[in-house]
């Protein structure tokens, strides 16, 4: 198996898919990457996460 960029990425993630599943997985990941890129930017510098860390007094 040639160690393509995508295969290296899968390997580094610890996932061990069957060789037959690799083309499908690669397509899926490309779609996700594209979606993530659209989400990513450009965003206001000060945009806060939705989840908040909150403390209560004891």
């Amino acid at each position: 198996m040639t160690d393509s960029k995508f295969e290296a990425r899968v390997k580094a993630s610890g996932l061990r898919p069957k060789p037959d599943d690799m083309p499908m997985l690669e397509t899926l990941v490309k779609d996700l990457d594209r979606a993530a890129a659209m989400l990513r930017g450009p965003r206001p510098f000060t945009e806060e996460p939705l989840n908040a860390f909150r403390l209560k007094p004891v």
Binding site: S13, R40, G41, P42, F45, T46, E48, P49, N51, A52, F53, R54, L55, K56, P57, V58
Partner: protein, 468 residues
């Protein structure tokens, strides 16, 4: 005013009694900046005209009997990640070299409304993470106790300026120790308040769930006064706590009698053993508290690295998310330290971030249980006296756990207090930690220590030479 050094509390009292002119006080500070800052590099921008205008307005209020409180007429500086309307705010970075915000940060507004005099913008590590760096448009701040030495960061300019008497107080920010580190190495008092107590709106973010704003000053009392002027609910900061603000000076005149103190000995004796002078300072503080009638117990928590690891992971992930667009397009415009430290954020897996945030809850719970029948915790705030500025390791935070990160992870209020002077006359320190929103107790212990010791009478030689 004599050429000596005044604290915020002392200057405020003199101004209230019309025995000190805010304009004269401001001129003395500006004169010190002119004479000492070429060696210290604590200011990125001196706003002399603004300072004199602020001082004149304060003086007019003083003469009219309309002073706004104990901060009216007090010269301060802001760390250069705090937005200041119409005044350059750079984050000590080439990327924001010409950035002029249109609005003040919420805390900047609050201090201005309290009557403070803004002397200028203070050096920081680049975007509060990359430093000390020598490849940025401005040099790093130097330690006034010995300019060959490090101030710690990232509120490096605030630490240097206050220790040298260039300003009476200033803002810092603290994501992994950036208020307490420079306070420790420059011999100040500095508090990272409870997460949510002070607004972060208008302060350039590093890591949203770990970022805190807070004050630094020469004494614990000054920190309490300055915190009073900056704490409070801000509906425009999603992390802001909607609860009443305590009177932070309320318990300052009590000593340590009756306080239940837990010592996290393994943090500073095993997990990252401190220098002999630092250990001596901690032991001395405990002895003093015991003599005043405090009850002292040993506390065992998870190893300090267990607190640091999720802290740095969360910080790296959140900071990378903030900087990703620029890291991709303008990587080489950042300084080497910032870009290398944040680049790892690109390799972090989402699952690891989530696990770290889960781990954070477990550690918060552990700390909460450990403090259930205690009032404060004690450990070091820095491992030793300041190292030489050119000997600061790039990956220090990965090699050894810091004493400050556990309290960013848990969000607890934590104060660094000077405990004397070690090798070469460089300051040592202790860290006092409280329960959530229990800053009053933290200040009480810190002030009790300062009142029973003489460390606050000594200033850096370069500053006293100028004053005599």
């Amino acid at each position: 005013m004599t050429a000596g050094f005044l604290t915020v509390a002392e200057a405020g009292k003199l101004i209230a009694a019309r025995k000190l002119s805010p304009v004269e006080l401001t001129r003395i500070c500006l004169d010190r900046v002119n004479k000492l800052d070429p060696a210290l590099h604590s200011f990125l921008l001196v706003t002399e005209d603004r300072a004199l205008a602020d001082a004149k307005a304060a003086e007019d209020r003083m003469m009219a009997g309309r002073l706004r409180g104990p901060l009216d007429g007090i010269p301060i500086g802001h760390k250069d990640i705090y937005n200041t309307a119409g005044i350059r705010t750079t984050a000590h970075s080439r990327l924001l070299q010409h950035n002029v915000p249109t609005l003040d940060a919420a805390v900047v507004s609050k201090w201005a409304e309290a009557g403070t005099v803004m002397l200028g913008k203070l050096a920081t590590h680049e975007f509060a993470i990359g430093g000390p760096s020598f490849d940025l448009p401005w040099p790093p701040a130097r330690n006034p106790w010995n300019p060959d030495h490090f101030t710690a960061g990232s509120s490096s300019g605030t630490g240097a300026a206050i220790a040298a008497g260039l300003a009476l107080g200033g803002t810092g920010s603290d994501t992994g120790g950036s208020i307490r580190g420079p306070s420790a190495l420059c011999g100040l008092a500095g508090i990272k308040p409870t997460y949510g107590l002070c607004s972060r709106r208008g302060v350039l973010p590093l890591s949203q769930t770990l970022d805190h704003t807070g004050p630094m000053a020469w004494t614990v009392r000054d920190c309490a006064l300055l915190l009073q002027g900056m704490a409070g609910y801000d509906p425009l900061d999603p992390a802001s706590a909607n609860r009443p603000v305590a009177d932070f000076t309320a318990d300052l005149d009590k000593d340590a009698k009756g306080l239940r103190i837990g010592v996290i000995g393994h943090f500073h004796e095993v997990d990252n053993p401190v220098s002999p002078a630092t250990q001596q300072g901690i032991d001395g503080a405990l002895e003093l508290f015991r003599a005043q009638g405090a009850e002292i117990r040993e506390v065992t928590l998870s190893p300090m690295m267990d607190y640091n690891a999720p802290g740095w992971l969360i910080l790296t992930a959140e900071a990378y998310a903030v900087h990703e667009p620029w890291l991709k397009e303008r990587f080489n415009e950042y300084g080497e330290l910032l870009r290398d430290r944040l680049a790892f954020g690109a390799l972090l897996r989402a699952a690891d971030y989530v696990q770290a945030v889960r781990r954070r809850r477990v550690l918060c719970q552990e700390m909460r249980e450990a403090m259930a029948d205690l009032d404060i915790l004690i450990t070091a705030s820095a491992p030793a006296e300041a190292p030489k500025i050119n000997e600061v390791p790039k990956w220090g935070m990965l090699e050894k756990p810091t004493f400050t990160m556990p309290f960013n992870v848990t969000g607890l209020p934590a104060l660094s207090v000077c405990t004397g002077y070690g090798a070469g006359g460089l300051p040592t320190s202790v860290q006092i930690v409280g329960k959530p929103f229990a800053e009053v107790t933290v200040f009480r212990a810190g002030h009790a220590y300062e009142m029973a010791t003489t460390w606050r009478t000594k200033r850096p030689a370069m500053a006293t030479a100028l004053a005599t």
